[in-house]
Symmetry: C2
Subunit: 409 residues, 2 copies
């Protein structure tokens, strides 16, 4: 069906936009490399004669028309942005395998009833602008466009400003893609976990996504001279913040062994060696399949923060900035993935996604599911993220068959 | 002797260069505000007819000639740079009180045998460029000029580049000030500790400065996805770094209650909420009057770091980047300060300095001492740093009498 070599070459080739020396990718949402890869995607679509549409949050939609212009479309794709010093496949693979599916359908002149839309969702990673899954959340209505456009990066630039900076390939062409509606959505992605590789399974049938809670903790103490201020007179925001980090890291023991608790961000102010830290801001990421466990984790952190603040003479503010419930995917779409996998003679297994994905947002509005392929050691959000050409080809084949089935080819 | 009102007005007035809304000062070495205050100092010298000289590290020297051109000079002054969101008096007070002393001597046409040099030392704070006391360390030969010029700030700009950026008022005029040598040096400064205010003492006779050790700790773990990576598979650099912070904060209990241990800097990489931190760099500042205690503290940290690294699957590198032994000031110069204080009917007390100072560097080369005035609550390196006009005037009076005595007025 698909051309495995062309898919791999495209993966390697497009990594020139933001690729790092150590085989990773550094392509933050709407930065220069992202602008370049967006332009590259549009020229690939132009060569094939497919129109590209863009909405107001910069989501790109490559539309391959179907036989019936009035039919609801099949939506595939993922995201082309990465984490800082991230991997080359997280998101990127789903977009480029989708492109390969469109190319293979066109090349073999396979007709399909429904339009097929390949999406590149804006700012899925949430690394430059919070929250993650921004483009797909706006698309599916769970995040207001104005609110998203006003979000700023660490340097104070807003999403609206960054979109303007990207120029033509992020400028809106329409409110929404010009199709009658969305019939079903499928996102192909690397697992970002160890299960498929460990069990030698080709394909993951993703039945849902665990819940995500993002919490900000802001510690305020008092700055002072590192050399003069007696220990008893200190209100050191970093000492307090460190105790919060330890508390978060301990949630596996205090709350539930299956929780994923991370402090990924810590910013200290004024961050000068001979000054006692006055402020510290911590960015927490908590995940678990059950929202109830996340509630308990949040309570544990709030209680610890109050205790630590009292002990250390600091104040600690806790704020939930993202509360994304767990998602269950559509059984009909999943069944199409299962039968595609079976028809290709590939092995498959049910699993849930531990990572968030654009499909998690889409699921609120349209029948949606995901397909996973293995990734080496389960490592992602790292320059060490790797897949094999064979894994890549398997996933693209399953996507091809699934899309053919869903689009009425 | 001095004009207390003019001194206070000058302190208030010059705070327009980098003054913050909350009454602090944000004037990092060789930034725009520093360039402005340097120009302002030179124009104040020009009005009075005093030449200004500058050496290759940007130290400024206002020279008030004495009766004997061949006599060794008396050196006063301090620094005009501040911490980020620092105070208005730390350093600044010593320079401006020195300017007031020169003005008062000129106004009253008091002749003196020796030249008097008022110095503004470059980058005393060490906040933008490491190490602190840079200008005075180069001047006194304990830091090589080339090495200092090559030091870079967090944005990668070197001292040499920053000096070039400041332009004329940082451009060298001579290798060293054109005097026969230095007879004695006196630095007037705020205490930055609570003792003088708490005991209602006007003046501190500073007999020495405690030892300072700066240590960098670099933790390396592995990045990974916050949502997917199981707890047992993590090598989280921030979790390890937080344990180091706790260990440092505990040195008062594990090593000596009189130690001042601080982690003032912590930088996390990649610092993205949904990525397990791969690296953390900690900037430690340890102080104590005894170098032996600092040795024990350093050993304790090295042992803890090894234990934490082993526990957490990370690696930790420990590097001493500044090892400044304690300094004992010159008893002759101190005696001049004592007798000036007595002659003015002010109260005085012996103490040591807990903060580092340019005088600490000068002491290695010339007979040196310091004069302290109280500061409110002992708070400094903070926008909350405060002194009263009366404290300011007292110190300037003592400096005036001390300089008169040392310069043969
Ligand atoms: N797939 C993926 O890594 N998405 C980033 C959003 C998340 O943090 O899960
Ligand atoms: N006086 C003063 O605060 N100097 C900064 C150098 C230090 O002691 O850290």
């Amino acid at each position: 069906s698909i051309d495995a070599e062309r898919l791999w070459t495209t993966l390697v080739d497009s990594a020139r936009f933001g690729g790092t020396e150590r085989g990773g990718l550094h392509r933050l949402a709407l930065d220069e490399a992202d602008a370049e890869v967006r332009a590259w995607l549009e020229s690939a679509a132009a060569v094939a004669g497919w129109p590209v549409q863009r909405d107001r949050i910069g989501n790109q939609f490559v539309v391959k028309p179907g036989r019936r212009a009035d039919a609801e479309a099949v939506l595939i794709g993922s995201h082309l942005d990465s984490q800082p010093l991230g991997g080359r496949y997280d998101g990127v693979y789903g977009v480029l395998a989708g492109l390969e599916v469109l190319r293979a359908l066109a090349e073999r002149e396979i007709e399909h009833e429904r339009p097929i839309i390949l999406a590149n969702w804006t700012n899925e990673e949430g690394a430059r602008f919070s929250p993650s899954m921004m483009g797909s959340a706006v698309f599916s209505g769970s995040l207001a466009l104005d609110e998203a456009l006003a979000r700023a990066d660490a340097g104070g630039a807003t999403v609206a400003e960054a979109l303007a900076g990207v120029g033509g390939v992020a400028a809106p062409t329409a409110e929404r893609p010009s199709v009658a509606g969305i019939h079903a959505a499928v996102e192909l992605h690397i697992e970002q976990g160890p299960e498929l590789e460990a069990t030698g399974t080709d394909i993951g049938f993703v039945s849902g996504v665990q819940a995500i809670r993002w919490i900000d903790a802001r510690v305020s103490g008092e700055s002072g001279h590192a050399g003069t201020t007696p220990l008893g007179a200190r209100r050191d925001a970093l000492v307090a913040a460190s105790r919060i980090v330890a508390e978060v890291a301990g949630l596996g023991e205090t709350v539930d062994p299956d929780i994923r608790p991370t402090v990924g961000e810590l910013v200290v102010t004024p961050n000068s060696r001979n000054v006692i830290p006055a402020h510290a801001r911590l960015g927490l990421d908590l995940r678990h399949p059950s929202a109830g466990i996340l509630d308990r984790a949040e309570r544990t952190i709030r209680q610890a923060a109050a205790r630590i603040a009292a002990d250390s003479g600091t104040s600690v503010e806790i704020e939930v900035i993202l509360d994304q419930p767990a998602v269950v995917f559509d059984s009909g779409v999943l069944e199409a993935v299962r039968s595609a996998t079976r028809s290709l003679g590939l092995s498959g297994a049910d699993l849930i996604s531990r990572a968030g994905h654009d499909a998690m947002q889409l699921a609120a509005r349209v029948p949606t599911a995901m397909i996973f392929i293995p990734c080496a050691g389960g490592i992602s959000h790292s320059e060490a993220e790797r897949i094999t050409p064979e894994w890549a080809a398997n996933g693209a084949r399953v996507l091809f068959e699934t899309v053919a089935e869903l689009s009425g080819a």
